[in-house]
């Protein structure tokens, strides 16, 4: 039965891949610097790597927000988030999977009369705001720096083109890794307490823990979403908010990837703490937030020229609607599972 429940996580992973890949490879594909297939395969591989290798940190924070303690409950939480993300994807809006899962967990907390950890919720929501601001600041600084350098140096058009292409590949891979590491918690995090997998040794070389196998499953689902359905979203989102040159697009993805990485790297957190420096909370943030933040950062350097405020408004409205919608679907879904299908959706 648990494997059947896991399918909702796979569905959410697929939806995340379909929707969030546009954040990482959207510019490269929309500006035709990379072929969709090349970008999608690269993105899929690095998402899996990020999920398996670096996904643990953010999962802990999500677990503290609300430990969904019954498989059927975890199923509905994930399914509600997946349906919300899928619906938003159909509407071609760059929705935040993180917001959807947080909304769903809050819906479960409400249904199960489980107290919401206000500290964790506050940390997550403030991290969203911080991630937008950080990504915007990083993109603005990088863009201003690149512009200044390009004004002072001889810029060869074809050279710049080739180097931008290489940059898009490298940053796309880094972005995909960070996306996998930061967002796998959204896809599989609620299943960690009820995971059916055990540790497996691979050819005597290394051991995959049960959680890592769970994350691998989620990573594969994300990769499948990227390969099968992300092209449509990329076409829509690629150039809608602000028409970006490939170089500006590269800067946006780099800023967003650094932001995602900062909020998910356990290694960096430990390194900063060891030196008594303030560290970033390991919180699942939204790649859509980070990308939009980056675009707004570049728009700020350009003094707001060419930005489509109507599209920005639609995106922000989508962000507000996502957790509410996901929470409502979860609540009613749990009610139906419990009262119609007689499933135990939480342990009191």
């Amino acid at each position: 039965m648990i494997y059947l429940y896991l399918l909702s996580g796979v569905f959410l992973g697929w939806s995340l891949g379909a929707n969030d890949a546009s954040n990482v490879i959207g510019t490269a594909v929309a500006t035709r610097m990379l072929r969709f297939r090349t970008a999608a395969v690269l993105c899929g591989l690095f998402v899996i790597l990020g999920a398996v290798h670096g996904g643990a940190g953010t999962t802990e924070t999500l677990g503290r927000l609300g430990a969904v303690n019954a498989p059927a409950g975890a199923f509905m939480v994930t399914l509600a988030a997946a349906l919300t993300v899928f619906w938003m994807t159909r509407l071609e809006l760059p929705v935040s999977t993180t917001q959807a899962i947080i909304g769903s967990i809050l819906g479960w907390n409400l249904f199960a009369h489980s107290a919401t950890d206000a500290g964790s919720l506050g940390r997550i929501v403030s991290s969203w705001a911080a991630s937008i601001a950080l990504s915007a600041a990083l993109a603005a600084a990088l863009y201003a720096l690149v512009r200044a350098v390009m004004r002072r140096r001889r810029v060869r058009l074809l050279d710049l083109d080739a180097r931008t292409r290489l940059g898009l590949i490298l940053v796309g891979a880094f972005g995909a890794y960070s996306l996998g590491a930061n967002n796998i918690a959204n896809v599989m995090g609620v299943f960690v307490p009820v995971s059916p997998f055990h540790d497996v040794e691979i050819a005597g070389l290394f051991t995959l823990t049960g959680t890592q196998i769970l994350f691998l499953t989620g990573g594969l689902a994300i990769a499948a979403g990227v390969l099968t359905y992300s092209r449509q979203v990329i076409r829509k989102v690629g150039n809608d908010l602000l028409k970006l040159s490939p170089l500006a697009g590269l800067i946006v993805v780099l800023a967003a990837s650094i932001t995602l990485f900062l909020f998910s790297s356990q290694g960096l957190e430990a390194w900063l703490r060891a030196r008594g420096l303030p560290s970033f909370p390991l919180v699942p943030i939204s790649s859509s937030h980070a990308i939009v933040g980056g675009i707004v950062g570049i728009a700020a350097v350009k003094r707001g020229r060419n930005i489509r405020f109507r599209v920005l408004g639609e995106i922000v409205l989508g962000w507000l609607a996502t957790p509410i919608l996901a929470g409502m679907i979860t609540f009613f879904g749990l009610f139906i599972l419990q009262n119609v299908f007689s499933q135990e959706v939480f342990h009191p």
Binding site: R32, M33, R165
Partner: protein, 215 residues
Amino acid sequence: MSLISLRKSKVLEGQIDELLDTISRGSLVFRNGIKEYLDGEIGRFEAAIAELTGMESHADELRRTIESRLYLHSLIPEMRGDVLGLLESMDTVINSEKKTLLQFSVEMPDIPAEFCPDFLTLAEGSRSAAEEMVTAVRAFFHDFNMVKNYLHKVYFYEKEADKISDRLKRRIFASGLDLSHKIHLRYFALHIENISDYAEDVADRLSISSIKRSD
């Protein structure tokens, strides 16, 4: 993958340079051809036509190769339309130089000695506009920040060519020549002047592309 892309870019850059060199040399040959004609050196004038015709064919071949390479290897995708437009409008300059010399060869206009210096100055003006255009286009590919420094020179020489042409046509029509002769000479002044106008068109395109790139 990107190292391959860098190598392809180098090859393409070489071909673009060759095209620009050909167009630049074409404008020198054009100016020399006019001079030979005005000096009555018809043999050397015909040799200039043959040379320019060869250059024009070579420029056409290079342009087609560059265009297909741009598409085949999907290079500079966001600028491709602009670059193709630029190459095609540059081609108009060398085409027009060749056609003008051929018209001289076919119609053999009788240019009185008093107008020869003005015709030569006009050809010189158009040549300068075309050469500065080539320099500006080269800067677009090699040193983007320098484009503006050359564009204003193209506009300057185009205006100069306009002024010379206007003065020449006024002098022609103020002279005692037959009306048919006057119209014939005006026609040739117009064709030489047009070359600088085509160079100006290229400069206009370049100016817009530069604004788009610097954004």
